[in-house]
Amino acid sequence: MNRLSMGIAALVCTALLTSPLHALTIKVGSIAPDGSPWDKALKKIAAEWKAISGGTIDMKIYPGGIVGNEPDMIRKMNIGQLHAAIFTGMGMSYISPEIFSLSLAFLVRDDRELAFIMGKMTPYYEKLTLKKGFVTVTWAKAGWVNFFSTKPVVYPRDLKPLKLSVAENDAEILQAWRSMGYNAIPLSTNDLMTALQNGMIEAYYAPPLVSASFQWFGIAKHMCGIRIAPLIGGLVVSKRSWDQIPAAMRPKLIASAKKVVDQLYIDTKALETSAIATMKQHGLVIHEVPADAAKLWEKEGYKGYDAYVGKTFSRDLLTKIQGYLKEYRNK
């Protein structure tokens, strides 16, 4: 009897694994503007998934934040109004706060360190998001964040007298920057241009491509060469939707999405290089950071980590990441 039950169970499982996919519409939210490189990459993924699934998977993309900001999109995924979304690292941390640990200021230094640490940590983060009902189809690297300011900034002491814009509605981020000794002011991105124009803000951090696109650099004409933190993100699908896709098809979809985002990183780097060249033509001055200044930035950065420990992630998690980085740097 037991054998019979086992046999039936195996048949059921096989049937589930190979069952044909009936038409599945995946509604995908994205804060990336329509026509941006990230939006184009998402459309490419949509086209590839349609081909892989023989036309049965139809992704409807809602770009430019028209279906809400990142917390809104998570809420809509929870109630089944949306089925997937492209998130920034910040957005993914609204699902699992621990993911923010990858975006800590002055923790990871470059692309190679980032690739190493993502290889070590993302399987753990994926388990955390899965527990919340979300499948991380692929992670994406989207560049690095730099300081832009109205006066030259090379050393931390240059930034401290300036009014620094930080993300609004996030008490930990505000506290972290203030505990590092900076004059941090919470501000909505929507108000950044006006705040720069009227002097309410004198510095902000952003990827160069964003600074160029929003033309904030027209006022904050100084870019500090040090990379503050990587900009990461990911394509996340609700488990409810993902489970409707035959198991045999899923690896192909994942591979296709990974291929597209890998190419996206190459494309955005090229675009960023071109954007920096254009900004320089229009008056941007880039201040390279000597080794002693880089060390000071890292030292200052560590002071801010305590603001997150015990609230956003555990001390153990931070120690683990720092341990991996030490291991990598000692190689």
Partner: protein
């Protein structure tokens, strides 16, 4: 009158080909240039009810303009006619159809969008050359910060130049918002449109207001976008066109209504666009037919832009 205009244009085109190819006669060049750039040559195209026919004819006319320009025309009106022609063609026959392609034709859509951007910039640059002929040093003023002074000195007959430069520039930016080299000039384009609005608010039966519906409706707030301003310009565009243009309704629906995820308003506006009468041969007939084509497509694809409610039975968290 309209048939006469069409015959007139055909004659001009044939004569132009002959004159330009057979002689370097400056007088002939000027005559053809003046004829092509005059307002008399406009309604044969804009009053047509067959967008495909016009789309097939336009490239010939555009190349003719370029031939005349290459021959050394110094007629600003010819540069304006060429530039506005390229911008109109790109909008109606390249970007418009690209926007309506399904996502599965992603590659084709991308190629067409890239092409539309190139045509917009080509058109913008011709109009800028026309402005340069009228106001030597105009192009340099874009980078030197002296544009506001020049704009303050302009007159009502400069409005078409300002309008088409701004429209071409902004359309190129919208086609590729991450082309920083184009993006840095967006504020100049907006300044030209503001100047045009100040000089002749009623230009093109509210065309400048229409531009600002899309401008304020589509731009993110961080770059100056404003629903309130978009609605103000919508109101004025409808008033100035006496409700006879479909495009203001399409512009507000596809920007503000989508941003607000307001399906009711989206449908109402597009139905108003479809209700505009296109049976009469007016100078807005062609653009109305094209705008109604877009309105129909938007209505058919409303769920691609506005998220429907959560499925029944799913508990809200």
């Amino acid at each position: 009158m309209n048939i006469q205009t069409l015959q007139y244009n055909c004659l001009i085109l044939v004569l132009a080909s002959v004159l330009v190819s057979c002689s370097g006669n400056k007088l002939a060049l000027r005559m053809v240039g003046d004829a092509l750039s005059s307002t008399a040559s406009g309604t044969a195209l804009t009053g047509d009810d067959d967008p495909e026919l016009v789309g097939d004819a336009l490239p010939f006319a555009l190349k003719l303009y370029e031939i005349l320009i290459e021959k050394g025309s110094d007629n600003p009106g010819l540069f304006l006619a060429a530039g506005s022609g390229f911008i109109m063609y790109s909008n109606a026959y390249v970007q418009g159809p690209a926007d309506m392609l399904p996502d599965r034709e992603f590659e084709k859509k991308e190629q067409m969008t890239v092409r539309s951007k190139k045509l917009y910039l080509r058109g913008r640059d011709y109009v800028l050359q026309g402005l340069e002929l009228k106001y030597p040093g105009f192009s340099a003023s874009l980078d030197s910060g002296t544009l506001p002074d020049l704009l303050a000195a302009m007159k009502a007959d400069d409005v078409p130049y300002l309008y088409w430069t701004g429209a071409g520039w902004m359309a190129a930016y919208a086609a590729d918002p991450f082309d920083v080299a184009v993006g840095v000039g967006v504020r100049n384009a907006a300044a030209m449109m503001e100047a045009a609005l100040r000089l002749d608010e009623a230009f093109g039966a509210g065309s400048i207001h229409e531009f600002f519906i899309s401008y304020y409706g589509a731009l993110p707030q961080s770059m100056g976008g404003s629903e309130e301003k978009a609605r103000h310009h919508f109101k004025r565009a409808v008033e100035l066109s006496k409700g006879l243009k479909a495009s203001p309704y399409v512009s507000l629906a596809s920007t503000v209504s989508v941003k607000n995820q307001n399906m009711k308003e989206f449908v109402e506006l597009l139905n108003k666009a479809l209700a505009v009468d296109v049976s009469e041969k007016t100078d807005t007939r062609l653009v109305n037919i094209l705008a109604q084509r877009k309105a129909r497509w938007l209505l058919d694809h409303r769920d691609d832009r506005i998220l429907s409610d959560a499925p029944k039975g799913v508990k809200k968290k």
